[in-house]
Amino acid sequence: MAAPLVPLHIIVFLPVIVGAVTYFLPQRIYQAAMLLGTVTVTFFSVQLFTAVRWGSDVVQFVAGWPEVVAIKLVADGFSAPMVMLTALFFTSAYIFSTRAGYLDKTFIFIFLMLEGALFGVFLSGDLFNIYVIMELAMLTVAILIMYKKEQQAVYDAMLYIMMNFIAMAFMMLGIAYIYRITGVLDLAVMQVRLAELSDPRTVIVPYAMIMTAVALKSAMFPLFGWLPRAHGAPSAPAIVSAVLSGIQVKVGVYLLVRLSIVFSPAIDAGMFFLMLGFLTSIVGFLLAIVQKDIKLILAYHTVSQVGLIVAGLHLGTDVAFWGGMYHIINHALFKGLLFLSAGIIIDAYGTRSVNEIRGVLRHMPIIGIATLAGVLGITGAPFFNGSISKYFISRGVQGNLAEIGLYLINFGTILSFIKYSTILFGKPSGKTPKPLMDPFVAGISLLFGFAILAGGVFGSQAVSLIYGPQYAAHGALSMQKILTFLLTFAVGLVVYRTLILRIGDYLAGIRTFKFSFNQVTVFISLFFVLLLGYTYLSVQ
């Protein structure tokens, strides 16, 4: 297979450069120019993916400096699919919002700057470069959250930026430590030098510092406080929420995988992250069930799904690992779709309360069908993509505690989405919504819905196409699996009717409970100490 058409840094810089050069153009032409730019980047990223997938890894040293000295960009089996996913997702989201009212030049520019930053994180093979680009992504995300300057958006963004900045300070101190010990910032060389260490205990402090930052970025328990504020921010436009939940939170998961591999010669904290993944997932869906705001239901549910992904990645079997990797893509598809359609629903009904929105399926059929596809995907219904990745994750854990944990998580997912799907049926209590007339919204929603279905029907092929390993997925469609799903669904329905609806009023305390900035900082410190203690005890 051919080499990539363009050097890797072009892919990172192209959205930013196009945005900056054409900034003087009037709004409509600018929008078209940026569409052209992001489509071009998508083309390059798909071509890069094919070159990596059926060729070899692409390694590039920026400015021609020798290895170790240069900033390295790497496209390999992990990063190339993520880059492709990011490009496709951003382009779809951009087309989706073609006619949206909030779109102006500055917004478009910052939005696509975030795209470039995410490419940078995925392609970077240098620890300090990752730090710099993550700071850039953090600033752009903060601006996007408070772009409409409504209500408490500025407060949400301030909290987001300060929490993340503390985590990034931890990360920089960790990078400084690791630079002292190994003398390099290049991840591949660092891995080699870590293997040569006489005493692995010397790197537990930098490991704990860097991983604390990564855990906050991937919203692990108890550091997920920023995520619902950022992703479910009432004033954030639909595409911002979709991009944050679909792609940006996966940066943390991606770095968790990447850096775990780098540190693997010295430290293995897989068990810690496995437990943490389950814990995050369970806490996430519990908090999702008690929410009333549909965006907050989705945002807390992102926490739960990220926990599931992290648990899958650390279960220890290959099939569960690739199941987790596939779930990253699946989650981007269905959560992206759900957030995009939720934005349209909120605009049409003028409310965010799950109790007031009714009859979406009748009044907005296309959005309703898209939402239904997203819900079926996320609950792991047979023939939809969630079932495949969840099946892969659950394979190889038969008959132990982890299996019960996975059942519990899926049950919680179904329960919270039974609550969410009540918006689809019934009669609207207030005004009837205005009908949907936007072909871009409809087209992209159906495209996402179709991708969710295709990812389920051709699940096994999709995994081997994107990542390489071959696993049979017909077990996900066995009679037993379908029966289990239907039974779980029925139990969920009964539990929702009998329990959740009745105790709803008592849950208000949990719903409005929020941590202050000081408490969050205490959690970050506690997490650091806990991880430090765990690695100290586990490393001999």
Binding site: M158, I161, M172, N518, T521
Partner: protein, 121 residues
Amino acid sequence: MAFVMEFLSQLTMSDLAVALFFIGLYGAMTQRSIIKTIMSIGIMDVAAITFFMMSNFEAGARSPISGTDPQHMADPVPQALMITAIVIGVSVVAMCLAMYMRVVYRYGTADWNILIRRLED
């Protein structure tokens, strides 16, 4: 007393930087005033930068610019990187301060706990 003096004389710049980092963290954990927490995270950032600067430190090393004998040159990597980190730190703190001003004008308080209560109303 002699023990304390000896301990103090053995402290390096890096140790002080780590101490400063955790002092900043303590401030972020305990201060209820928003402006003081912004100061605290600024201190954490500066401490991390100082710590990075002191890596591979050698007494008597010369600045890594052209013309210096490579044998006596200080490690150029931390210096090059920390320029970037300082700029990032300044811009993030500046952004925090800008948001702080908006929040203060809007809600009329500079205290995290009072702010949360006002947001719920």
